[in-house]
């Protein structure tokens, strides 16, 4: 039973991280490698600031900073390179992520800071569940549902698909590409921030958060880079596999996502539920 709880928590985290990647990919076909940096920076900042001001205010400040970083990522890393090949987008966001990580290392000296969130433990079916874990599940479900509905049933989803296909043509059709992509970037950053906080509440904020963020990438890829339900499915699968492997040999935990990644890239590159992108016209 404990296994199920742990796997569910892991799956929720995977899903939220994957969702952040999907959000950016949906409009731009770029993978936002700046998200680990954003997560680290905002988490450290919020925790530091929470000693100086009431907690809700600190949380809001962190959210604001996350949104700001998302906007900065857009203006520096995404908008200028819209017409160019995709790997350029990878590299610009990687650069932004590195800059953020280096700032974090210098300012906070790579230490551990703990977030004192009010927490409670309650029992369900004989297993104790911490409030942080429940919060993670709740966030994943609510946010996931909201995004799924947003993309499926509103025009926004269509706009994003069109922009990802050809941003120049989308602009010529009157789609407000800048606004849409800016918002996407800010939302993705906010998601990363939320995950950073949730993880930090459980284990304390450390530099390891950065590598955790990369699993969002694997989740998104396995599920399909532009698919929210795909990310959910992949999050669950990956969480189950990883939990099972960890019981067997803990050190393999870090490499499991990458092996799964290689496998999916060879077998089905566009992911489980992603759009089949291989058709090409000469």
């Amino acid at each position: 039973m404990r296994f199920v709880i742990d796997a569910a928590t892991l799956a929720s985290i995977n899903f939220l991280l994957g969702l952040a990647i999907v959000t950016i990919y949906k409009g731009t076909r770029i993978i936002n490698f700046a998200l680990p940096g954003v997560m680290l920076f905002t988490a450290y900042l919020t925790v530091t600031v929470s000693g100086l001001m009431p907690l809700p205010l600190a949380l809001l400040l962190g959210l604001g900073v996350a949104a700001l970083l998302g906007a900065a990522t857009f203006y520096l890393g995404i908008y200028p390179i819209l017409g160019r090949p995709t790997y350029v987008g990878i590299l610009t966001t990687v650069a932004i992520g590195f800059m953020l990580e280096s700032i974090v290392t210098i300012v906070w000296k790579a230490g551990i800071v703990n977030l004192d969130l009010p927490s409670a433990t309650f029992s369900v079916a004989g297993q104790s569940i911490r409030s942080a874990e429940a919060a993670i599940w709740a966030t994943a479900v609510i946010v996931g549902a909201a995004f799924g509905i947003l993309y499926r049933y509103t025009r926004l989803g269509l706009w994003l698909a069109a922009t990802a296909d050809n941003s120049l043509l989308a602009r010529h059709r009157g789609i407000p590409v800048l606004v849409v992509l800016l918002l996407s970037s800010m939302v993705a950053a906010a998601l990363a921030y939320a995950v950073g906080l949730l993880l930090g509440a459980r284990l304390g904020v450390t530099m390891a958060l950065g590598s955790t963020a990369l699993r969002g990438l694997v989740v998104a890829l396995v599920g399909g880079l532009d698919s929210v339900p795909g990310a959910a499915l992949a999050a669950i699968i990956l969480a189950v596999i990883e939990s099972a492997v960890v019981i067997h040999d803990p050190r393999l935990a870090t490499v499991v996502p990458y092996v799964v990644l290689l496998f999916i890239l060879v077998w089905r590159p566009w992911g489980l539920l992603g759009t089949y992108e291989e058709v090409e016209r000469i």
């Binding site: 908008y79 269509l158 698909a161 120049l168 059709r173 009157g174 789609i175 800048l178």
Partner: protein, 272 residues
């Protein structure tokens, strides 16, 4: 504005007036220079010329360059009505009613037909959608098919339909007939004329098929190597010797055979 035929009255709403346009690519290569043309309100104007003359550049300059395209407007103004739209972004010109139908990438390949029509910044009412199906019954049959699977003619129809969904008062059409079967191209040309007559949409048409373009247009310009070399009402262009020889494929005194001709081409004089 100059005293030439086809002159527009200043500030005529809905008229496009390009003056002395100069576009440079990659900060070094001049593509067009000193290009001036007018599209009076509700008229069809065609822009002819050989490959690489700069026709597409002119259209894209009017529609608006994005930062990613390494092109700059070095000089010149573009007036739509009384507004100067030179250097504006595509989103802005579309809002003003100038909609482009590009040459190559004209539809969203990953979306299906109906999604393509909806993927604009303008709301699409059922009545509007039905209007599009009426114009293009062929598309209605394929409304849920991914548009990468459409034939060339259908793609062009979809591109025109999507442009119409953007509520245009002026359309910039680049190479309408490129790669299409003559019958389909003819259908599209008459459609363009219909759109112009019935809805009052002004059209700036870039074409290689000079005869068809001149037959449906009111006024024509000829651009070569980045400069306008000739202009006039379409009827006059159809009878002009140089135009006939180089763009319509027939010399003034036809029935010449290669064996008789020492100099194959008449020199381009653009006098008449």
């Amino acid at each position: 504005m100059s005293e030439r035929e086809g002159t527009v009255v200043a500030n005529e709403p809905g008229a496009l007036c390009v003056e002395r346009l100069e576009v440079v690519y990659h900060r070094v290569a001049t593509a067009v220079q000193g290009v001036s043309l007018n599209v009076p309100q509700g008229k069809v104007v065609t822009l002819l010329g050989p490959n690489g003359a700069g026709k597409t550049t002119v259209l894209r300059a009017i529609g608006g360059f994005t930062p990613a395209e390494v092109a700059t407007l070095r000089d010149g103004d573009i007036f739509f009505g009384s507004r100067n739209i030179a250097g504006r972004l595509p989103e802005e010109t579309v809002r003003l009613g100038i909609v482009a139908v590009p040459e190559r990438v004209k539809i969203f390949d990953t979306l299906n037909v109906e999604e393509n029509l909806r993927a604009t910044g303008f709301p699409l009412a059922k009545a509007d959608l039905d209007g599009i199906w009426d114009l293009f019954p062929q598309l209605k049959n394929r409304r849920k098919i991914r548009s990468i699977l459409l034939s060339g003619g259908e793609r062009q129809m979809l591109a025109l339909g999507a442009a119409l969904c953007c509520r245009p008062s002026m359309m910039l059409i680049d190479e309408l007939s490129l790669g299409l079967a003559p019958k389909i191209a003819a259908e599209l040309f008459s459609l363009i004329r219909k759109l112009n007559r019935e809805r009052g949409i002004g059209i700036l048409l870039v074409e290689q098929n000079a005869r068809a373009a001149l037959e449906i247009s009111d006024f024509g310009y000829i651009i070569e190597s980045g400069r306008i070399v000739f202009e006039g009402p379409s009827a006059k262009l159809l009878e002009h010797g140089d135009v006939m020889e180089f763009y319509l494929g027939r010399a003034e005194d036809s029935e010449k055979s290669f064996r008789d001709v020492k100099q194959y081409r008449r020199k381009r004089r653009w006098w008449g």
